[in-house]
């Protein structure tokens, strides 16, 4: 089992191999966190690349090695937002007109798609909790909000997801019964 704190201490002293191990240990969490904000894998790659360099440069500022994971994910997410801000300045016309999915009939929406359709705050909290696997404590540290606020955001996000899921199930049932429930 990897001893993260020891790796952080060694990486702070300039041990490249330890830094590489740290990044490899959390690359999955980095990708999943980035994907909660950015749509394309290329954008995720760009943000994670920048974040990795920033992490190395600022590792000496991390006072508590046990907080490395949440600190790392925060840097990744900040890079994602920076990328979005840069991209908003240059937006291609077809990206604006491109629909999320074609409404030419019934398409079973995967839970991933439902996530994308949610407000960003709710999407982030569900991704970080269920997919990245952060604990409640880690969520409060990462988002810098009290536990109670984490609770209420989680509650709203789950309610929203439940609603989307139930709508999906109703629509599926309607199609199976040969009826369309949405009128154009």
């Amino acid at each position: 089992m990897v001893n993260i704190e020891k790796l952080v201490v060694k990486a702070r002293r300039g041990n490249h191999a330890s830094f590489e191990k740290l990044i490899n240990e959390y690359k999955h969490a980095m990708y999943l966190s980035a994907k909660s904000i950015l749509r394309s894998d290329q954008d995720c790659a760009d943000a994670i690349q920048e974040a990795t360099l920033k992490v190395f440069k600022n590792l000496h500022q991390l006072k508590e090695p046990s907080y490395f994971k949440t600190w790392l994910i925060r840097i990744v997410m900040n890079e994602c937002y920076t990328l979005i801000r840069k991209q908003l300045k240059v937006i291609k016309l077809d990206e604006w007109t491109e629909p999320i999915y074609e409404d030419s009939g019934y398409h079973k929406m995967e839970v991933k798609q439902m996530l994308l359709n949610m407000p960003s705050e709710q999407r982030e909290i569900l991704t970080l909790f269920y997919i990245v696997g952060l604990s409640i404590k880690e969520l409060t540290e990462l988002m810098n909000i009290p536990e109670n606020t984490v609770k209420s955001r989680m509650h709203r996000a789950r309610q929203k997801m439940k609603t989307l899921w139930m709508e999906q199930e109703e629509e599926e049932l309607s199609w199976k019964n040969g009826k369309m429930i949405y009128e154009k």
């Binding site: 704190e5 490249h16 690359k27 894998d41 990795t52 190395f56 839970v111 696997g133 604990s135 509650h155």
Partner: protein, 332 residues
Amino acid sequence: MEKWENDLRKINKEPVPKVVELGIQKALKKIPRKRNNRGIYAFVSAALLFVTLISGALYSPVFASTLKSMPIIGSIFAQVDTADAGLKTSVLDGIAVTHGKEVMIEGKQVMIGESMYDGSRLAISFIVEAKSREEATSLLSRLRYKINDIPFNGWGGISIDVNEKELVEGRFAGVYMVGPNKKLSDEFKLSVKTDNGFSTIPVELKGDYLVKDIRKQKQEDGIYISYEEFVKYPTSTVLTFTEEQTLDSYLELENQAIRYAVLDGEGKEVPLIFGTGQGGEYINQKIQMRYTYILPVELTEVTIQPYIENISNGEKVRDLKELKIVIDLVKE
């Protein structure tokens, strides 16, 4: 767990795309292999020479008289008013070790008096040069140390107790305690950062301990508590238990939280030596917290009464009666 929750969890299993892997590799290649150590623990080789030069002046007459003024039967641990009974007698009981090492920290004379490690916690006694209790406490709160080269931040909760009254003029006695959240080895080096580099003292586990199983599970309203065991150490008793809560139950407690009243055999609140709760992970469809309470050694019976507290005003909402447990610390 609802199906959408299961589907979300499955996303975690999807591999990292190649394009992201390449991005990471690009970043790692850009990072220089060698860099100057700008860490806060950079060593200065000349520091060793300085220690030799000034050590003659380090042992001051004030310290000498401080040591002479201490009662013969006591120790620095025994001098600290708020230290628990187990710690106060630890030197006499042969559990604590005397070091009497003098160092300079932030320009102040500090004596590392004794260390006590019996497996439940690590305690170090100090005599600190200061104008007030607050100044002594403040200096100890900025103490930097390593345990076998791992900086102190990684080891657990800390508590600092300094006497109100001076031990002798300009000197205050205090205890610095660490409740480790990970296992320490039976022997280790404790290195304290001083003005002249790190000063190291050896620490060794002393005394025997006895593990007593409790193995009782209680349940109420989507909350599950497993009272696991208690361990009797020479200077304290450590109780561990796990709380699990369904996500629905957790979210229903809006602006509320589960708290634990720890009471003695007469129903009075027990002054915990340490109390820590860790976790919050979502495991097996429940949010899990693990609690470790370090109890005074003289306690013979303890009652744990979980209750719901209103976070905004700190008022008790209700007791969780089904989750209560009374533990005989002598018989069980």
